[in-house]
């Protein structure tokens, strides 16, 4: 009986599959407005998206596991760690030649909190480096949101902050949106 029951399901599944291929295009349209109310926590490992910095064939995303970054970048030039007050976790800073990576801990794992570019030997994948002009930036990224002397761009869980001194970029930082 159980077997035939299984068969019934399988046939039904197949039948529906066929019926569904006819509708085809609607497949991925399951608009998420109705699809399940639960706003789930996204597993960190799965959510590498948004702006990223690329250097020597390595892409660095915010919220990425630092372990993975370290294994491809190698040891930093300088390393600094500071225990936050009342032991709420160890914040770590990895200084490489042209950029600095900071991490934050969560459940004993360090994730990338921010990447800041320090000089003009590196640039963003979109071609912006320290010293670029404001119009270069807006051409590459769009208008952005102004904040002090900076333009801020947000994509998914990442934020790109580009700071200007007059018309020229003085700082580029990728950071995780908390």
């Amino acid at each position: 009986m159980k077997k035939s029951f299984k068969k019934v399901i399988l046939t039904a599944v197949c039948a529906c599959m066929m019926a569904f291929t006819a509708v085809g295009c609607g497949g991925d349209s399951g608009s998420d407005t109705g699809n399940n109310a639960q706003t789930g926590q996204i597993d960190k490992a799965e959510s590498l998206s948004g702006y990223y910095f690329a250097t020597g064939g390595t892409n660095i995303y915010v919220n990425q596991k630092m372990e993975d970054v370290l294994s491809s970048l190698g040891e930093p030039v300088q390393y600094f760690e500071s225990e936050s007050c009342a032991y709420q976790g160890m914040d770590k800073t990895y200084t490489y030649n042209s950029f600095i990576i900071k991490t934050y801990p969560e459940n004993d794992v360090d994730y990338v909190l921010s990447v800041s570019l320090r000089d003009d030997t590196v640039q963003t994948p979109e071609g912006i480096a320290i010293g670029s002009s404001k119009s270069d930036v807006t051409t590459a990224y769009g208008a952005g949101e102004e904040s002090g002397s900076a333009l801020v761009y947000t994509k998914d869980q990442s934020r790109l902050t580009i700071i200007f001194d007059g018309d020229s970029v003085t700082s580029i930082e990728y950071s995780a949106v908390q």
Partner: protein, 530 residues
């Protein structure tokens, strides 16, 4: 305002207090005020929508009734002059008038619902089709607010207008009373869909404080919180991880997800309804039951008679029935019998009506293909089991299993599994993935994969599993006890100390073991988006 928010608890506490200290005459107006306040606190713009529905339905109801009254008076006055034929013609004319009125009302209100809920879904599908034909154009989505519970109150109002149209009952003359019927706040969040003649019996009545009634209400609310906070919200973490990472969790984990989702949905939905009914009950108001221990059903049909009952009967009364007896359908029935023979011909209209019902049921649940396919799967399974019925009967007779306890158990488990499998369509992000995962579950089911520590990586630790397990045992036990007599009744008959102790225990376990406050996902009731 969510049921499980502190503000809701404060809101109902204050309301209960006011409800019983003000003059009894003021009770239902207070409820109307509270309901509108409740809606206002969620988002003031919601008020516009619910007011439009209330006022329009109210006016159309009166108008339809007027036509009826006029008809009766006319016939009475001209009794002698009118021939039978004249009467018929006159009546048909009046019927047309009524029909025009109800049509306007339905189009207006269902139109609002459709625009609000389905615009973006339609745009998405148009984009998909255009894409399929090689067009790069895309239509942008529209930013529309979806008033909380719009599906529920729209359906409730439409049920009312159809009943008035059919002459089941007279329309409500007091617009404020009617507005309360539409907006009664405990129902706004996630139903049930009440009938006017049912709810109005107690909704407008004057209620004296009765300790038993009040205690029962509060106990029911607590029970709802227990289901919702201790079970549903705890398990939801694991569900999210499982469904968001399908590559990682296939095979037996799909089954785990399936069962977790079944428990979660049940606890969440019935818990919410318990709170709704409990809040009403504490004020002496009787709201229709929406569940009747659905997981003890022996087949899908029975299941749908016991799960989300008010929705099921709504679809039967206001969609299935009218479609089955409408003229085109009768014609079709006749034609198909003639051309396809008795056996198939008889089925065509039934199938067609059922198809429409399940399609709309799916669509009603959510503007996505997931829900539509889910609805149609129910249709398919119900139709298949209908067709196989003679086979079952033969099987039952031959092996003499009918009524045997183990066979009942088998049927119950089978139904739960089947329903849970179908429900997977509203779990995964899209339909093809659901097929893929269910297929993966069947073909790659390795129970051994569960024994690794992976079960502890789902956001639940041992303590969580123990609490969940205990919670489910309690749920099951209560369900079993309920079969003969309501648990609250049983407790009431026992010494007060025991009753108090059980209530205290329930309260304490909610406070201590509920998955609320920071660190837990504040998952909304699944059903309040419908």
């Amino acid at each position: 305002m969510l049921f499980t928010s502190y503000s809701f608890i404060a809101f109902i506490s204050l309301l209960f207090l006011l409800y019983y200290i003000i003059p009894k005459k003021g009770q239902w107006p207070l409820l109307l005020f509270a309901s509108y306040l409740f809606y206002f606190l969620c988002d003031w713009r919601y008020l516009i929508f619910i007011t439009v529905t209330s006022v329009s339905t109210y006016l159309f109801g009166i108008a339809i009734d007027k036509v009826n009254v006029r008809q009766d008076e006319y016939i009475k006055e001209h009794k002698k002059e009118l021939s039978k034929e004249d009467k018929k013609i006159y009546k048909a004319g009046m019927k047309k008038k009524r029909f025009r009125l109800i049509l306007m009302c339905l189009v207006l209100n269902i139109g609002i619902l459709a625009v609000i809920k389905y615009t973006n879904f339609t745009i998405n599908n148009i984009n998909g089709i255009m894409h399929a034909f090689g067009s790069d154009n895309t239509i942008g989505f529209v930013d529309i607010i979806i008033p909380m519970g719009i599906s529920f109150y729209t359906f409730q109002s439409m049920g009312y207008i159809i009943d008035v149209y059919r002459g089941t009952y007279k329309p409500e003359r007091n617009i404020f009373k009617f507005a309360l019927f539409v907006s009664f706040f405990p129902q706004l969040v996630q139903g049930p869909i009440s009938r006017f003649n049912d709810l109005s019996k107690t909704l407008y009545a004057e209620h004296k404080f009765d300790i038993k009634v009040f205690t029962f209400g509060v106990q029911r609310i607590l029970w709802g919180f227990f289901k919702k906070l201790v079970i549903a919200d705890r398990i939801v973490v694991a569900i999210n991880i499982l469904k968001d990472n399908p590559e990682q969790y296939g095979g037996a984990y799909v089954f785990v997800l399936m069962m977790f989702y079944a428990f979660q949905l049940y606890a969440d939905f019935t818990g919410g309804i318990d709170i709704t009914i409990g809040v009403a009950e504490a004020m002496g108001i009787t709201v229709a039951e929406n569940f009747n221990r659905p997981f003890f059903s022996k087949n899908i049909k029975e299941y749908w008679n016991r799960w989300h009952i008010t929705m099921g009967t709504w679809f039967t009364d206001y969609i299935f029935y009218p479609i089955s007896v409408c003229k085109p359908m009768l014609k079709l029935s006749k034609a198909s019998r003639k051309h396809l023979g008795e056996v198939i011909g008889k089925r065509v209209p039934v199938y067609l009506s059922a198809f429409v019902v399940w399609f709309t049921t799916g669509l009603w649940h959510g503007a996505s293909w997931n829900f539509i396919v889910w609805g149609l799967m129910n249709f398919v399974v119900i139709m298949i089991s209908q067709e196989l019925k003679p086979l079952y009967v033969r099987f039952h007779n031959r092996f003499n299993v009918d009524g045997k306890r183990w066979y009942d158990g088998f049927q119950v488990i089978r139904t739960v599994l089947l329903m849970s499998a179908i429900r997977m369509f509203d779990v995964y992000r899209d339909v093809p993935l659901t097929f893929k995962m269910v297929w993966n579950m069947v073909t790659d089911f390795r129970i051994s994969s569960l024994w690794s520590s992976t079960m502890l990586n789902l956001g639940l630790d041992i303590a969580d599993y123990i609490i969940l397990f205990a919670g489910l045992i309690i749920l099951f036990t209560v369900s079993m006890l309920q079969r003969r007599k309501a648990v609250r009744e049983r407790l009431w008959d026992k010494p007060a100390v025991l009753n108090c102790f059980v209530t205290w225990l329930l309260l304490i376990s909610i406070v201590l073991f509920g998955a609320y406050s920071i660190g837990y996902d504040s998952a909304q009731f699944i059903y309040n988006q419908f």
